[in-house]
Symmetry: C2
Subunit: 358 residues, 2 copies
């Protein structure tokens, strides 16, 4: 039997509900493939602030760091919205990303045939959308120095941040993207703003230089403003997209909304070595927390990504993916993806249905 240590970071809002459901599914899929999991649950975000006064307690980070893979629920809530910056729940995410060095954020945006009507896009535009956004996660304007707010020589306040990329940071995320595209439909679109930003000029140059190592991948470039348009005009044109941290933040959220079912979308954040961080892309949804209304499928699919990308256990991952499709085919729907003619279920019941199909 293979054994793995999994750190569970439920976080806030609906986080604990979806993690508890996804944990059961993960355990079941694993045990059918001869895997044994040792789960360790630790507080992060608002939950940690309430317990010990910091968003990412040292013990939580240590448990995450020492694990084989991390499954996170969701972070944040109104309650802590007016906290000072360093005492905001989201800081847990930054510290985790930075200190685990998970520079590659994989965000699939897929429109399932069963859910195509959930999109606000016309059926013929949304149908068949299947892309992967590879977002750089530990560099760029999120972390660049200098940054701050200060008073200048005229006594005026100024605010500033630095968009910064070193060649090796671009190269390593580009490699992940080329490899990803290679395993998909072989098309990679690099998104930048090279007609304005120097950091983008370097980005484009490095990505272009690597292309010769991946002759089986077709590389194109697109400006970020055009990409924001093309995602709406014809999202099917995209296979794999690679872009920087801030553009990736914006475009991956845009792409997820195009699918119409952000309650369905998982994500993976990977480094060179060490555990990966797996989490649904949706937020903590404080409005419906504790009401058994949340859609656990994004977290369940994040558990599948954990198996596939984090542990290399593709068979167990496939079990989960198939079980989710099966459950949707049987007509089970949480409120966020419900449409007439289907069976409305809560978070727990959805989890039980998936369990049956694993």
């Amino acid at each position: 039997k293979k054994r793995f240590n999994i750190a569970l970071l439920p976080g806030d809002g609906i986080g604990p509900e979806v993690i508890s459901v996804a944990k059961n599914v993960l355990q079941q899929a694993g045990s059918l493939e001869g895997l044994e999991f040792n789960f360790q649950e630790m507080p992060v975000g608002g939950a940690a602030l309430d317990l010990v006064g910091v968003p990412l307690p040292e013990e939580s980070f240590a448990a995450a760091k020492q694990s084989d893979a991390i499954l996170l629920g969701a972070i944040g809530g109104y309650k802590w919205d007016n906290n000072e910056k360093h005492l905001r729940p989201e800081m847990a995410l930054f510290y985790l990303r930075r200190d685990l060095k998970v520079f590659a954020n994989l965000r699939p945006a897929t429109v399932l045939p069963q859910l195509v009507d959930a999109s606000t896009l016309k059926r013929e535009v949304a149908e068949g959308v299947d892309m992967m956004i590879v977002r750089e996660l530990t560099g760029g304007i999120y972390f660049g120095e200098p940054r701050g707010i200060k008073t200048n020589e005229n006594g005026e306040e100024v605010g500033f941040n630095t968009e910064f990329y070193a060649a090796h940071e671009i190269d390593r995320i580009a490699r992940v993207a080329f490899e990803t595209a290679r395993k998909r439909r072989g098309k990679l679109c690099s998104v930048d703003k090279a007609n304005v930003l120097d950091a983008s000029i370097l980005w484009r140059r490095r990505v272009t230089a690597l292309a010769s190592e991946y002759p089986d991948v077709e590389l194109t470039h697109m400006y970020v403003d055009n990409a924001a348009m093309q995602l709406i005009r014809d999202p099917k044109q995209f296979d794999t997209i690679v872009t920087n941290n801030i553009f990736g933040d914006i475009l991956s959220d845009e792409a997820s909304m195009i699918t119409g079912s952000i309650g369905m979308l998982p994500s993976a954040s990977l480094g060179v070595s060490g555990p990966g961080l797996f989490e649904p892309i949706h937020g903590s949804a404080p409005d419906i927390a504790g009401q058994d209304k949340a859609n656990p499928l994004a977290t369940i699919l994040s558990a599948a990504m954990l198996l596939k990308y984090g542990l290399g256990e593709e068979k167990a991952a496939k079990r989960i993916e198939d079980a989710v499709l099966d459950t949707l085919n049987k007509g089970f729907r949480t409120g966020d993806i419900y449409s007439p003619g289907n069976k409305l279920v809560g978070c727990k019941e959805m989890g039980e249905e998936v369990l049956k199909s694993v």
Copy 2:
């Protein structure tokens, strides 16, 4: 009779065609309201590069600067795509914006009832969309220093740009936005990334502080990633949006694509004093240049914005807006907005039809 000097900058691709049509419409609407125009046409962009080797010749800038308002066609084309940065057509736009100090870029995104099916969004989502994006145009990461590409102490190339806003830059664009919202439906949404960027924290603080001067305007704040989603989920929720240069670039293009008819959308760039710059938001479309296929309505509507925002001639502006609606109601359509049952016309014929209705 009131006289105005208008600088015409046709630029590249379809620029000359749409400017020539819009000029006639502008002249006609003006003369019916007792306005006389003195037009001066000057080369910019690729056209200027070919003629004199620079994207914005001094004479062109001087003519623009001394005019009462500027109408620009479009800039750029494949031909100059591999030029070095300072010899790219787009540089003309930067120099114009920077040196005319037109810090406020107004970009309406409206779905006309006649064209609702042109959107890739479902009819019920697209119908009635009517928003104004106020984009800061002369600051932020587009112009911030330091910027560049250099080799660091380890011999590695690094690329960097600076997102920078001074308090007065935020205040002046926020005021334009509050005034704009006041004349519309009284709702202003300020878009930033204050959970990550220091420049955004200052942005949000300044905008919030100004709100007390505009008690009739309802101010909300939204993170840029969420805004990218909400524009797709429910674009009707927005009235006026204010945001920085780079977020405005991305979101205004996204919003324009939501309308499905970017061939219809005008823009205005305004400073404190001096001439405003008015241009369609679409590009130079080299593929169809010179074929009389371009949609001139975005430039015609830019001429309407020129009258309204540039010269304060609301009546003449209204004439043009009404004439455009009239022409659409009669069923005239260029290829980009054509749907069966309508009359397909070219650029010139569309212009003549609008002229008849002015």
